[in-house]
Symmetry: C2
Subunit: 211 residues, 2 copies
Amino acid sequence: MQIAVLLFDRFTALDAVGPYDVLSRLPGARVVFVGERPGPVRTEVGSLALTADAALSEVTTPDVVVVPGGPGQRAHMGAGPISDWLRAVDATSTWTTSVCTGSLLLAAAGLLTGRRATTHWLAHDQLAPLGAVPVAQRVVTDGKYVTAAGVSAGLDMAFTLAGRIADDTVAQSIQLAHEYDPQPPYQAGSPGRAPREVLATVQARKEFILN
Amino acid sequence: MQIAVLLFDRFTALDAVGPYDVLSRLPGARVVFVGERPGPVRTEVGSLALTADAALSEVTTPDVVVVPGGPGQRAHMGAGPISDWLRAVDATSTWTTSVCTGSLLLAAAGLLTGRRATTHWLAHDQLAPLGAVPVAQRVVTDGKYVTAAGVSAGLDMAFTLAGRIADDTVAQSIQLAHEYDPQPPYQAGSPGRAPREVLATVQARKEFILN
């Protein structure tokens, strides 16, 4: 089972690494990080690079496709090599998945038309114009398409997917090995739960966060 | 504020990237990934490399030190450049932190002697022989030392630390931007909550997971 994780300049690190660290533990999984060119690809913060070990042209029939989000996704929403690659690999994938604004890339490539999907809460209004059916849920599964909400939701997406690809016991074993028993010190992780001033602060930075 | 994230061969990706993706958003933060040699450093799964942008000798007075865990930490528990570096940077750090078995590296370097600390639940019995006082908690703060339990606990550690370094509003804003409102599809993330057969499966793989 080949799992391809897409990288592009200015992606969000946790979007890619959360699912990687879960899905790479599945029996028989071979993960490959793929980019337009092999080599280091920088996150949007700039102080971290992940290595793309393969070029797009080298990964043609992955079983699972993982598309992270991040401000850099915007540059690839139109026609271009990443959009072409997504359409090509989706034709034979078993699962096509995304984290955060990665779903906007899938939608812009025409892969979520009429499909239920989610994305970062700040970008939720961008799904419908791209043909998807927005659902305000942390993880949304529609057929073989599994989309996650913002950044950290990729972990919940990955455990959901692990259960579907393998079984509940395997997924739970990875969860226990990763000690994924979250205890956030604050309860501000969704617009509905965050204090009003926190919500206002983040909304005011919307363009910076998304672009 | 310089935040140094240590990399070594066969580290666990999420241990490093979880805290990075949170702490790098702090106002004034400059993160640097540091390794014995600059260049790509592979995780224990092997299919992902993160770039160390600096050698140990280039990062001498970071304000915050983040030490991930992973099977590769064992090779550095004795005398050697990483142990020397940890002692040197700890002498002037404001915060010295770890995720998962990273605390064993700190303890082996003599930095947690008599300090309350935690680690991956499978390795908890290794803390006391190294001089630390084991605490079965997801995040443990003792003075400037903040240690986290296994893998994903690095996220909770990072948000705790963000609140201490900045303030609650800043930490909550990062939490909301990262949509960290976890909803695990399974409740198997701690030994006490996992089904018995899942616990047995992971315990049977203890040596593989830790080494």
